[in-house]
């Protein structure tokens, strides 16, 4: 695979440069190559060739990043699990993917029912970064996102998919990382956005700066920008929403690029943020996990490129080899300036949800274009295309919300809340907005007040922390709209959280 060979070349070429700064400690590309080789040796000597999906506990350390590259050199996929997520959810992920081996850099691994490769204690070996011949349709990773039925939904991504992403970014003349760049890597490795924040710095020989677990990330990011003089930022918009009260104290002339993704970027805050970064190009990226992170972007500029709809910055145009199509409910293309569901086609499209034919039948379709069968993924995002060919984001077509950049199906929260409660009452999860404009989760319960702690404790054993409702309200009778549906808009007014 071309990009894996490029990774090898970049690592070998930048031996004396730094690859990672974790909690104030720097590691060089040579350190990285050593770790990769040790882990690779452990993989080849203990995992059989046919075993392709390997669990990875995503700690914030050199070994975890090295494990991803070691697996790729061997043509295997990583199945990441977050050590702060409930073990029950993580073992569910391994069960769904039939994962038998888990790479774990923790001091002691809690995955004793699996074959654990403990990467902290491996013996030194010769450096070996030559990739094995791998077919492009093999998987590079599988990520799990919130699903409506209480089960997380697996999104497999192939080496070809990742190559498509690399080709598209390489083709973009306005974005070029250099080995001297200092890049923010704020994402947990179970979150698909992390793929661009480690892959592109590695391909350029640049250095990544991570956020230690337990740090207050907003202030830690500012500390990195200020003290380490970061040059490349990639983040979700909620970061700047939280930093907004302090913008007047931020001036970061070293930042060259700032890319946003994973949520709606609002025009007013983008402008104010842009004032903090006087020498920076801002990119508003769009793309779902199912399409290998990014599918396109809009090059925002506070004076010359501020196209927006209801204050939400445009998502611009598709990147190289990607096709955008806006459709109606019959998957027929709609006219310019008509809102419909955005669908994506091209080399970055996932082969389909992991073992989920029912969902695949709903989310993918093919269409003949100039004699060619093009497969499209339906994003669930409502958009329209304007006269200039730019795409503008309107909203979601379903009950999915974004909490701190993570996709959350409200139905999954309701499922787990109801599963534990012996009171058979109506429960509705909604997104409520705090005064900084960020979504938080609320749980409305149609009942007189009762003890809810046990239900919340149970939910914490089933779902990651960002999916646990921060606010609970008891409402004797839910408001309904005229057609009998629960009126979520009015429910929201019960959550006065500011």
């Amino acid at each position: 695979m071309k990009f894996v060979t490029q990774l090898q070349e970049s690592i070998e070429k930048h031996f004396n440069e730094n690859v990672l700064c974790i909690n104030g400690v720097f590691y060089t590309y040579q350190d990285f190559a050593t770790e990769i080789s040790k882990i690779r040796f452990a993989i080849t000597s203990s995992i059989e060739e046919s075993e392709k999906l390997i669990g990875l506990v995503t700690n914030d350390d050199l070994q975890t990043y090295a494990s991803i590259i070691a697996l790729w050199l061997e043509g295997k996929a990583y199945v990441p699990v977050n050590p702060s997520s409930p073990i029950e959810r993580n073992t569910k992920v391994f069960e769904l993917t039939e994962t038998k081996y888990v790479i774990d850099s923790s001091e002691s691994s809690i995955y004793q029912d699996y074959q654990v490769i403990a990467t902290r204690t491996l013996k030194n070996t010769d450096i070996n970064l030559v990739p094995k011949e791998t077919s492009g349709d093999q998987l590079a990773y599988i990520l799990f996102t919130s699903g409506t039925t209480g089960l997380p939904k697996g999104v497999p991504i192939t080496f070809n998919n990742v190559q498509g992403l690399v080709n598209a970014i390489d083709a973009e003349p306005t974005f070029n990382l250099e080995s001297s760049d200092r890049c923010l890597q704020m994402f947990e490795l179970t979150f698909d956005f992390s793929v661009v924040t480690y892959l592109f710095p590695l391909l350029a020989g640049a250095c990544m700066y991570t956020i230690p677990k337990g740090a207050i990330k907003y202030f830690y990011i500012f500390k990195l920008i200020k003290e380490q003089r970061l040059t490349v930022l990639t983040m979700v918009p909620s970061i700047i929403n939280y930093l907004r009260p302090y913008f007047s104290e931020i001036n970061a002339p070293d930042v060259r690029y700032c890319s946003f993704g994973g949520g709606a970027l609002h025009h007013d805050i983008a402008k104010e943020w842009s004032d903090c970064l006087p020498n920076c190009k801002i990119f508003n990226y769009y793309g779902p996990t199912e399409f290998t992170v990014y599918s396109g972007f809009y090059p925002y500029h506070k004076e010359t490129a501020t196209k927006n709809h209801n204050g939400i910055i445009a998502i611009g145009t598709p990147q190289k080899d990607t096709r955008y199509l806006v459709v109606d409910e019959n998957n027929e293309e709609v006219q310019l300036e008509v809102t419909g569901e955005l669908c994506l086609g091209g080399p970055q499209i996932t082969p389909g949800y992991w073992k989920n034919d029912e969902k695949n039948a709903k989310s993918f379709f093919t269409r003949k274009e100039n004699g060619e069968e093009i497969r499209y993924y339906k994003t669930g995002d409502l958009c329209f295309k304007d006269q200039d060919g730019d795409f503008l984001y309107v909203g979601r077509a379903d009950f999915q919300v974004k909490i701190r950049g993570y996709r959350v199906e409200l139905a999954e929260i309701e499922f787990h809340a109801k599963a534990k409660s012996d009171k058979k009452v109506n429960m509705v999860a909604i997104d409520v907005y705090n005064k900084l404009g960020n979504a938080e989760l609320g749980l409305a319960i149609e009942s007189e007040e009762f003890e809810i702690d046990e239900v919340l404790e149970y939910m914490k054993t089933k779902m990651p922390d960002y999916m646990i409702p921060a606010h609970v309200r008891f409402i004797p009778e839910f408001p309904h709209s005229i057609n009998g549906k629960i009126n979520r808009k009015e429910l929201r007014t019960h959550f006065d959280i500011n």
């Binding site: 202030f219 500390k223 200020k226 939280y242 104290e249 900084l436 609970v472």
Partner: protein, 79 residues
């Protein structure tokens, strides 16, 4: 305002943001010791504390705040 009064007002801010009171704050308390105190709720707590004391923190102070003791010290310096 003495330290005790400050602490009691700070505790009120924590309770109102975290929506529970299963904690006792001391100088050494960090986010790891209190259920629900993490990046997002921290920002809400800070904004609640600013409101209660009618002060405005500096980003430089917030950046180096590691425990409740640091928070109390910063409030004292702002009052």
């Amino acid at each position: 305002m003495n330290r005790e009064e400050i602490l009691s007002k700070v505790t009120e801010a924590f309770v109102s943001v975290l929506e529970h009171s299963n904690f006792e704050l001391s100088d050494e308390t960090t986010a790891n010791d209190v259920d629900g105190w993490e990046s997002v709720t921290h920002m809400m707590i800070i904004s609640e504390v600013e409101k209660k004391f009618n002060i405005k923190f500096k980003l430089m102070d917030l950046m180096n705040m590691n425990n409740v003791g640091d928070l109390l010290k910063t409030i004292e310096s702002e009052l």
